[in-house]
């Protein structure tokens, strides 16, 4: 019987609260514009007024929220200071990008409703201005012809058209600019573009600056008009609406006076905007600190290892940094997981060469050259971070399952190294009592740099007489005839022919059902952390297994699933 509450409960609660606030704001502001103050406005445009203002309120709320999940340094700080908080709360901070996307979709949705409603508003205002006969719409539109401050209809002449008005008012222009920025941001953020052409996504995303500027000045023109409070007292719409032909001539019904609402959006977004500016300043300042490359190692299967030093650099296991190499590109920052342990005197990253930037970095670091490189020839680097991700939590569980697919093993390299150092130093504070490590790999070349680490750990455990502390399995998910022949010949040997480790390499994919069942059986009643760094498909599978094998009973075994993402 699965226990999804343990894994998903808090996230679902957060989403429900957020949706609830959206619905509340929508309904509340819809009703605000049904008030008497807007009676005459609604005579001209009908319900389109409420339909435009309600999503506007939701847009204020969501635009306030959208900047917060991408303040990496702020979130890292919260995570760090939340060590005393429950693990569950800090896990929510891992899902910041998912939340950012959800809020973005909501912004797009409300923008659509807002624009469609305003299309009707513009059309109806125009119709009112074009009225020939003396209808109430005509009379209302004529108000304010002398002095422009008390008008109702923002379209002041009948010799224009809605398109022209849209592009000559502050509200119209800023609206169009913001919407265009939003559309370009969204189309360049599609998964296909993001995963393949990161630079297009990253640079276009900076159009959000235009979006926010447009948003803040959008209401400056104050074109949404309602009756002034004093005017409602003298010209009550319920009494005077029918007598529109006699306004001003009858003492009961003077000509109504209108005013606009002052812009409100800046009050919602100013806080997060300040926080975000601060965030970028922190990133900039951190990046200016001097970073020295102390060692460059080229590994097979196109992997580059960089060992670096920076004054005052402190890290936790499994964190990542953003790297910039000004000689390669002035503007690009790319995230990489740290593969070194906090106990070491340097920090390192393993970079796979997959695109433009990584290729140029490889060449700049002399990857092509065979001979020794002088230290001063190596390029200057800038480092932002480190930023916390799920792996920090590894040491908070008694039993952990670590699953790394291909290059996704890198955060766990950091974890295992840290474990090795703590063992070496006889650290009694080491909480995990048992580590299950799974490495899924397609090709044998990728083993090389990691196999050494596993070998040291293996020896270490044997010496301490605690060979059971770390149980690891390596799965070769792609194999061919030649390799199979090699395996069969060496099948009986003590050490694995590929890795040289005592633990044999296994083939195909792991049977997760069995693995979870066995581990659950070995550790009844324990809280088991499941950590994955790998593809989405595997994440879904492991997440499902975690839920299925967790006991409904709170005293039973619980698998808590944590996924890395970038």
């Amino acid at each position: 019987m699965g226990n999804w509450v343990v894994n998903e409960g808090l996230s679902i609660l957060v989403i429900l609260v957020w949706l609830g606030i959206n619905i509340f704001l929508f309904v509340y502001y819809y009703i605000v514009y049904l008030d008497e103050r807007f009676y005459y406005t609604r005579v001209l445009v009908g319900d389109a007024l409420s339909w435009a203002r309600a999503p506007a309120a939701c847009l204020n709320f969501n635009c306030m929220l959208i900047l917060l999940p991408v303040c990496r340094n702020l979130l890292s700080f919260l995570r760090g200071s939340c060590q005393c908080c429950s693990r569950n709360i800090t896990r929510q901070l891992d899902r910041n990008i998912t939340f950012h996307k959800l809020v973005a979709y909501m912004i797009a949705f409300h923008t659509a409703i807002h624009i469609i409603a305003h299309l009707f508003n513009f059309e109806r205002f125009m119709d009112a201005q074009l009225e020939q006969n003396e209808t109430i719409a005509y009379v209302l539109s004529q108000i304010g012809n002398g002095d422009n401050r008390l008008y109702l209809n923002p379209i002041r002449t009948n010799e224009t058209n809605p398109t022209f008005v849209a592009f000559t008012t502050i509200a119209g222009l800023s609206g169009v600019a913001s919407t265009l920025a939003l559309i370009l941001i969204i189309t360049s953020s599609m998964e296909v573009i993001r995963r393949s052409y990161f630079e297009v996504f990253w640079f276009t995303h900076h159009l959000f600056v235009i979006f926010f500027i447009g948003l803040v000045i959008h209401g400056v023109g104050e074109i949404v008009r309602g009756q002034t409070a004093s005017s409602v007292l003298t010209n009550k719409p319920s009494n005077c609406a029918a007598q529109y032909k006699d306004w001003g001539k009858v003492p009961d019904c003077p000509i109504p006076q209108f005013t606009g609402n002052p812009p409100m959006t800046w009050k919602w977004v100013i806080g997060p905007m300040v926080l975000y500016v601060f965030e970028r300043l922190v990133r900039f300042w951190r990046s200016k600190q001097k970073v020295v490359i102390t060692k460059v190692v080229t590994h097979p299967s196109k992997t580059l290892e960089l060992q670096m030093k920076k004054k005052g650099f402190k890290m936790e296991v499994g964190q990542y940094v953003n790297l910039q190499c000004p000689s390669v590109s002035q503007l690009e920052w790319h995230p990489f997981t740290l593969t070194s342990a906090p106990e070491e005197d340097h920090f390192s990253v393993h970079i796979r060469i997959v695109g433009d930037w990584t290729q140029q970095l490889f060449e700049a670091c002399g990857g092509e050259k065979k001979e020794f490189q002088e230290a001063w020839k190596l390029p200057k680097m800038a480092v932002d971070g480190p930023f916390g991700t799920a792996s920090e939590d590894v040491f908070r569980y008694e039993v952990v399952m670590l699953v790394g697919a291909g290059i996704g093993v890198t955060p766990f390299a950091s974890v295992l190294k840290s474990v090795w150092y703590r063992y070496f130093n006889n650290d009694t504070g080491l909480i995990p009592k048992k580590i299950y490590f799974y490495w899924l790999c397609r090709e044998t070349n990728a083993f090389e740099w990691f196999a050494d680490l596993l070998q040291s750990l293996e020896t270490q455990m044997l010496e301490k007489g605690n060979a059971d502390f770390l149980s690891y399995r390596i799965y070769l998910t792609g194999w061919d005839e030649a390799q199979a022949a090699h395996f069969t010949v060496h099948h009986e040997e003590e050490n694995d022919p590929i890795t040289g480790l005592k633990q044999k390499t296994l083939y195909g994919r792991p049977n997760w059902e069995n693995e979870f069942k066995t581990i659950a059986g070995n550790h009844p009643g324990a809280r088991i952390g499941v950590f994955l760094c790998g593809p989405e498909v595997l994440a879904k599978s492991l997440s499902k297994q975690s839920i299925n094998h967790s006991d409904a009973d709170p005293r039973g075994v619980h698998f808590i699933f944590n996924k890395e993402n970038f």
């Binding site: 659509a112 624009i115 469609i116 299309l119 009707f120 513009f122 059309e123 125009m126 119709d127 058209n161 809605p162 398109t163 849209a166 169009v176 919407t179 265009l180 559309i183 370009l184 969204i186 189309t187 360049s188 599609m190 296909v192 573009i193 393949s196 052409y197 630079e199 297009v200 695109g355 433009d356 194999w479 199979a484 022949a485 395996f487 069969t488 010949v489 099948h491 009986e492 296994l506 083939y507 195909g508 994919r509 792991p510 049977n511």
Partner: protein
Amino acid sequence: MGQIEWAMWANEQALAAGLILLTGGVVGVAGQFKDWQFAAYGVAAGVFICLLEYPRGKRKKGTSIERTGQRYLTVCVKAFGPLTRNYYVRAGLHAVLSVPGGFMLPTVLGCVCVAIASLIYLLAAIRGEQWEPIMPRVESKERPGQSMKEPPSNPPPRPPAELRRKRQEDAAYVNPIPISVNSV
């Protein structure tokens, strides 16, 4: 930025623009706005652009991911040969299609978005990109054991007979005749 295929982004932008033009057109027609004829045009043009842009082209490098159910449209789009393959033609087509949208407010946004898509396609064309259809893959020979639900947990190939010897402790039963390397 050497490896970017601009056409991929142009395609996303054009598809979005088609939808926006279509929505604007629907609003203009349903709301019976003045100059609703331009809105009706917006509906038609929007639908056409969506159909044209829905099938994703094949990437020069890397895996191409199809949109759901795009296979049928791929066949249609492919049938126009150079008209749909060449991105200069597409850029020009989108530029022309966008113009009537600028005459009424509901379709103005669609007009600008299609124009932007046209510009990105122009950039793609200058860089020499082309639209290639994603054809269905020829099913490769099934790997042994693919039909099994569970992955094998033992090494797939067995050692050759001469190296295969039963270990005493593993045997489920004890052979009356001891097995040696030369026994058959």
